[in-house]
């Protein structure tokens, strides 16, 4: 066990995987000598050499395209996109190629790439250093989408991702890269992809969240407790494939759901959760499903505190949900 921040846990996960398997290689902008702009790859080029921790030219198209080529060959590339906001130049490679290679080849060419990118707001990054683009990728058949919220999950899920056989988009909540430390098991301890985690038990309302929205959601649950509302908090951890069972089980118990994410509301990931509930937990639902999300605007700079869901907004929504119906 070590006491680590989330970004340190990512770093240890990479180190662990690279020590265990020479096929694991990293590539990206400024990840080598510089150790990554958030220091997620700090020290790794020193340990594993410039052949396995590759500083690339400034091209996300090139990073993902060459990573796919490496994966076809049999390596396990773990490319980094410096900010998730800069993933779009690689969108064609991700959506047309990475997600579809195994399928379109009739299973001949698995394409195991773990694409890491820090995402989300709260660091005064404005429109282009704050986005939460997970819904694009969750909607893309053929990709797995993982978002950890704790140091232990960050390392454990990353190790699972690297040992998976499918393409995994691994989005890291940069706002809480260093916000807290937590106990992280040493060695190759994995957290399975595809399982949500019930981080707080409750009976009156289910709060669904992931990544950097977990801390305010937990804070909201505490606050609700003091009002006599017992909130269950589910950290989805894997957005695709979703742990549908965990979601349905919770709402079958509570009958009420609040969904929290930073991304804009319209067609955001929360919509899918609501749709699943409205189809499969319909007869358990006692009140309208509420979403506490970013607004349907780009991410602002000066007013980011008004954009990002906070504990109070979550409480506010949960309270009205709990009272409705």
């Amino acid at each position: 066990m070590s006491e680590l921040t989330l970004v340190q846990a990512v770093n240890r996960g990479l180190q662990q995987a690279m020590r265990a398997d020479p096929d694991v290689v990293l590539l990206g902008e400024d990840i080598g000598v510089n150790g990554g702009v958030f220091r997620a790859t700090e020290g790794l080029q020193k340990e594993f050499g410039a052949d396995r921790v590759i500083d690339t030219p400034l091209s996300e198209t090139g990073i993902v395209g060459t990573a796919i080529g490496m994966a076809l060959y049999g390596l396990k590339p773990v490319p980094e996109i410096q900010f998730q906001d800069f993933i779009y130049p690689a969108f064609d490679q991700i959506v047309s190629e990475l997600a579809k290679f195994r399928y379109r080849s009739g299973g001949q060419y698995p394409c195991h790439v773990v694409l890491r990118a820090p995402y989300g707001g709260g660091i005064k990054g404005g429109l282009y250093h704050s986005q939460s683009a997970e819904a694009y990728f969750a909607h893309t058949s053929g990709l797995k989408v993982v978002i950890p919220s704790t140091p232990a999950d960050a390392k454990g899920l990353l190790l699972s991702a690297i040992h998976d056989e499918d393409p995994v988009l691994f989005f890291e909540p940069k706002r809480i890269y260093r916000a807290v430390t937590g106990e992280v098991p040493d060695g190759d301890v994995r957290v399975p992809i595809g399982t949500a985690s019930i981080v707080r038990d409750g009976t009156d309302v289910s709060l669904f969240a992931y990544g950097a929205m977990i801390p305010p959601t937990l804070k909201a649950a505490e606050s609700l407790e003091s009002e006599g509302i017992s909130a269950e908090v589910i950290d989805l951890r894997t957005l695709s494939p979703l742990d549908e069972k965990a979601v349905l089980t919770s709402v079958e118990k509570t009958g009420r759901a609040v969904i929290v994410h930073e991304a804009p509301r319209f067609c955001g990931y929360g919509a899918e959760l609501a749709a699943i509930l409205a189809e499969k937990a319909f007869f358990s639902l006692k009140a309208p499903i509420q979403r506490v999300t970013g607004w349907d605007t780009p991410f602002p700079y000066a007013l980011e505190h008004l954009y990002l869901p906070n504990a109070e907004r979550i409480v506010h929504a949960a309270r009205s949900t709990a009272r409705a119906g």
Binding site: G62, Y73, D166
Partner: protein, 359 residues
């Protein structure tokens, strides 16, 4: 996949200095087969027996000459016209035609349009439609091979139009920076659907774009099989001896339509076509072999005849194979199907069994 290879003589393990008369004749025979595939498949599409076809006529010498200079260990990243390349590589014609039919024996399980095939065992990577995406991938595979010290090259095939793509730029740039053992093989067939080469880009040649990436660039007459063979062999040697990647522009012509959905009369002149028809690589190669005494008219007739027969037989087989099974729809998306996919598969089965949808 059927075992028999269509390659009369397989391309050599190590490309030799120059092609022997026997090799030239074998190469010609493959060109004839490729041309025959074209003719037959254009007809099959007109008859509604296959859904689509993109011919390669005019590009046979470039494809066969290029592929012949590679070793079987080299990875091929095709676009969608590389049928002759596949044949040189030893991909059975049956496998290719099965793909066109998308039948139960199709290696890609009926998931893709005709021309979008791939065969892992032949290191012939499955094609996709978005142009250029294979270029960066081929560079990544080359970087990986270099890392693992496997002495091979990767090659990406693409057209003049595709030099405008994002991946062309990124791929060549990465290849230059990382000195990836990779060859970029442009078949400049003068057209990207309706856009002529001169309006695709203002550079005098496409090969000179290599300079922008600090790599070698070569123009070659793509109607001359031996010339193509030579530059590809050299590029291969250069790549493996640490000389870096090479961009090759083979100047050819797309004698047919862009695809069966295209009508080239809308945008190009009969005169232009006629001029290039006069340089048909098959006629040229035949003439060359006849003059050197390495081919007789009788042999030539035999080649065309056997190609047609072979085609008739593989088409017959392809049409006798049942369609892909509905349940395959949910295979190969992930290594193991997710619960949601299992549920959808069950849903489809229910719909099928209740007659809501028909297989």
């Amino acid at each position: 996949m059927a075992e028999a290879s269509t390659t009369p003589e397989a391309s050599p393990r190590t490309p030799a200095e120059d092609l022997s008369p026997d090799q030239l004749r074998a190469a010609y025979r493959l060109m004839v087969l490729a041309r025959s595939v074209d003719e037959r498949c254009l007809a099959l599409q007109r008859q509604g027996r296959i859904g689509f076809y993109a011919p390669l006529q005019g590009q046979e010498a470039a494809q066969v000459g290029c592929a012949w200079a590679l070793r079987p260990e080299d990875w091929i990243f095709p676009a969608y016209r590389e049928i002759a390349v596949a044949l040189v590589r030893g991909v059975p014609l049956q496998a290719i035609i099965d793909q066109f039919y998308g039948n139960a024996e199709d290696e890609v399980k009926g998931r893709q349009m005709p021309n979008h095939f791939g065969y892992r065992q032949f290191r012939f990577v499955t094609a996709s439609s978005p142009v250029g995406t294979q270029i960066t991938q081929a560079v990544g595979t080359a970087m990986a091979a270099k890392m693992r010290k496997e002495p091979i090259v990767t090659i990406s095939f693409f057209g003049d139009g595709t030099t405008s793509s994002n991946d062309f730029h990124a791929g060549l740039n990465f290849a230059g920076v990382f000195q990836a053992p990779s060859i970029f093989f442009i078949q400049n067939n003068q057209w990207a659907i309706s856009l002529p080469r001169e309006r695709q880009t203002r550079s005098a040649t496409l090969a000179e774009k290599a300079q922008a990436y600090g790599i070698a660039g070569v123009v070659v007459d793509g109607m001359d099989l031996s010339a193509v063979y030579r530059v590809v062999r050299e590029a291969r040697e250069r790549a493996l001896s640490g000389g870096g990647p090479t961009l090759i522009e083979a100047q050819v012509y797309r004698l047919g339509p862009h695809s069966t959905s295209d009508d080239p009369k809308r945008y190009r002149t009969e005169a232009e076509l006629a001029e290039w028809k006069g340089r048909d690589p098959i006629a040229r190669m035949k003439q060359q072999l006849l003059s050197s005494g390495d081919l007789t008219e009788a042999q030539d007739q035999e080649y065309w005849g056997e190609a047609r027969e072979q085609l008739a037989s593989v088409i017959k087989h392809a049409e006798s194979v049942p369609p892909v099974a509905p349940s395959t729809l949910f295979e190969d998306l992930f290594a193991r199907p997710t619960p949601a996919l299992e549920e959808q598969r069950a849903e489809l089965e229910r719909l099928l069994s209740e007659g809501v949808v028909k297989p």
